[in-house]
């Protein structure tokens, strides 16, 4: 697949603060691409630069190999779905959708056909003559999408489009978005701070933090092999430990030492030497928990702990397990009928274990 949008060393300052610093990545044609990060990470600024509302201090944006950095907003073949919809209050749903087409002086016949098609796509045909204040939030959202899509943009930009909706509606809209993406087949760029939203629909995700690109990859890559401590923390839950490399066993594994915690064997893809400062991250669902000691296996880290808290969630239970004053979070999936099994309860002594491949190591600065 060819690259459709390319951000090339984008840097942007607002007064003294640096909103984006040297951000470079590319987005492929037809991709559902998410830009994910906490608030203030620069993700919306990046989207506004692509839409043409802001211009970068340095760097260039390419769309289909054409430099659009200095192209004004109204000349760019991209359209935006705004967070607060930004529907024109004085126009009906139909007139809102027709706005871009009327600006382009397309024939009224064609406009009517395009509107009908869009109203069909968003299932809003019965509401075509209503005004924006007469429809619900979810409906406004769909109209905003239709108003953008009707212009047949090369890329659709979605700026936190679901933030203003309640949870149930958000989940439904997310599925709708996915369906619409499949139907129209153009590139979607979806800006969000909600990792679940991004994981659910994206082909690939770029993670931004403090105006810097942290990682770019498929949802699985990002979740399973985070490249930084920030990404590991931001995406999903994880147990974090600060430790020191005690022994590099071979090319792939090393033994880590922790204050007040048993040594841990872990896979590494960084060049490590003895004495390096590292972070270790282990996802709660990767840790197995049982009342009986598990079979000896040199690849497993195995230790004894006490249950400190237990939250039953139906499909899984979340445990807090204390090992040497340190609390680990552990998730146990209930794949079998739970009532037949020996229950793990509060203050029980348990064994926890995880495979050396299921932890990941990041290097750590001395002061961190």
């Amino acid at each position: 697949m060819k690259n459709e949008v390319i951000f090339n060393n984008i840097t942007k300052h607002f007064k003294q603060t640096e909103a984006l610093s040297n951000v470079s990545f590319s987005i492929r044609e037809g991709e559902f691409f998410s830009i994910l990060g906490p608030s203030g990470c620069g993700k919306t600024t990046l989207l506004r630069i692509l839409a043409g509302f802001e211009s970068p201090d340095e760097g260039a944006i390419l769309l289909n190999n054409q430099d659009i950095t200095n192209l004004p907003t109204n000349k760019r073949p991209v359209n935006t779905v705004f967070q607060n919809y930004a529907l024109f209050p004085h126009l009906t749903i139909e007139e809102n959708i027709a706005f871009g087409l009327r600006i382009k002086k397309i024939s009224e016949d064609q406009i009517q056909r395009d509107i009908d098609q869009m109203l069909e796509l968003i299932q809003m045909a019965p509401h075509r003559h209503k005004y924006p204040h007469q429809i619900s939030g979810g409906q406004k959202q769909r109209v905003a999408i239709a108003r953008a899509l009707v212009n047949k943009p090369k890329v659709l930009l979605l700026d936190e489009p679901l933030a203003a909706l309640d949870l149930k509606l958000r989940q439904k809209m997310l599925i709708d978005l996915d369906i619409i993406h499949d139907e129209v087949g153009i590139t979607f760029i979806f800006v969000t701070h909600d990792q679940e939203e991004a994981m659910a629909v994206s082909d690939r995700i770029a993670i931004l933090n403090n105006g810097r690109l942290e990682q770019i990859g498929t949802p699985t890559e990002i979740y399973e092999t985070p490249k930084s401590r920030f990404v590991a923390r931001f995406i999903g839950d994880t147990n974090f430990f600060d430790g020191i490399v005690e022994q590099v066993i071979d090319k792939e594994y090393s033994l880590l030492h922790f204050d007040d915690f048993p040594p841990v064997k872990c896979f590494h893809d960084l060049p490590l030497t003895k004495g390096d400062l590292v972070h270790l991250s282990v996802r709660p669902e990767k840790i197995q928990i049982s009342k009986e000691p598990p079979q000896e296996n040199p690849m497993f880290n195995c230790m004894k702990g006490t249950i400190d808290d237990k939250v039953y969630k139906g499909d899984h239970t979340h445990f807090g397990v204390v090992v040497n004053n340190r609390k680990l979070s552990v998730t146990k999936q209930h794949n079998r009928f739970l009532l037949d099994q020996t229950q793990i309860d509060w203050e029980d002594e348990v064994w926890i274990s995880w495979h050396a491949n299921d932890g990941f190591i990041f290097s750590r600065e001395k002061h961190a």
């Binding site: 839409a51 109204n74 024109f88 007469q134």
Partner: protein, 287 residues
């Protein structure tokens, strides 16, 4: 909801009393005088007559009425054309600049209205700053008069009434969601088109209020044509003043005032009907 109705009635009572005492009653008195006969010394006589109103049906009065209308409508339009971009500019500025600009609009009110008009006499005078500047950039020749013309009346009216246009427009513009401009530009509109197609409809109520706020005092003005206007710049207000003070003909002055009030009430009525329509729409949406 009779209780709520009662409360609403009580709440609107003060303004109702005020309007009755200072608008409705005087207006009725004027209307009554308009149908009273008078002798040549200005004494109002008993009985009723239509002759005062009939006597207004002459070419001179029609001309006066027409001139008052076009001069005030034209001044209103100029005020709106200037105030809309100014309001846009103010609303998009930082709060610091906004307040500074508001100050500049309000400061002239601290000095007397008459003094400011006399100042314009100096400015528009053939030796004055404005006249000289116009000659310098080649707009007019030295012999073209500016002072004592209809042009002078319009320019001073615009100067005097523009704050009344700017303030309501600014108030609407501040409440306007400027992301809509971005949305319009995103959909392919140039900035100018985004402003005409989205901003202006968005502040429509402010523009209508501004139009009334300028038109109503403009059509009744008499000091401005009196001081900077020429022999053919008289407006209705001058006629009323002349009938009242010079000729002491109260019935004739009342008849003209009545017509003036009716002229003002027509656009006001349209606005009220219009805004009621808008309010019904809102109420329906809330249900």
């Amino acid at each position: 909801m009779p209780r709520k109705k009662l409360k609403e009635t009580l709440m609107s009572l003060p303004s109702f009393v005020w309007l009755t005492a200072f608008f409705l009653l005087p207006f009725i008195i004027i209307c009554v005088y308009a149908f009273k006969p008078a002798d040549i010394y200005g004494t109002v006589l008993k009985g009723w007559t239509l002759s005062t109103l009939n006597s207004l049906g002459n070419v001179y009065f029609y001309k006066l009425l027409w001139r008052s209308l076009w001069m005030s409508i034209f001044s209103t339009l100029v005020c709106l054309v200037l105030a809309v971009p100014m309001g846009y500019q103010m609303a998009t500025s930082s709060p610091k600049w906004r307040n500074l600009m508001l100050m500049f609009i309000i400061i002239p009110f601290w000095s007397s209205f008459l003094i400011r008009i006399f100042a314009w006499k100096t400015i528009l005078h053939p030796e004055g700053l404005f006249h000289q500047a116009c000659v310098f950039i080649g707009l007019i020749s030295q012999s073209t008069p500016l002072l004592y013309t209809n042009f002078a009346v319009v320019i001073v009216m615009v100067y005097t009434f523009i704050p009344f246009a700017l303030l309501p427009i600014y108030t609407s513009a501040v409440k306007f969601d400027f992301q809509l401009i971005e949305a319009a530009m995103d959909l392919g509109a140039s900035r100018i088109r985004a402003i005409t197609k989205v901003f202006i409809p968005g502040i429509k109520k402010g523009i209508l209020t501004a139009a009334l706020m300028v038109f109503i005092p403009a059509i009744g003005t008499y000091v401005i044509p009196d001081l900077v206007g020429g022999v053919n710049s008289d407006m209705i207000g001058n006629k009323i003043a002349q009938k009242t003070f010079a000729e002491r003909n109260i019935p004739e002055a009342s008849a003209i005032s009545m017509i003036l009030t009716l002229i003002i009430l027509i656009p006001l009525g349209i606005l009220v009907l219009y805004s009621r329509k808008g309010r019904n729409l809102e109420i329906r949406s809330r249900e």
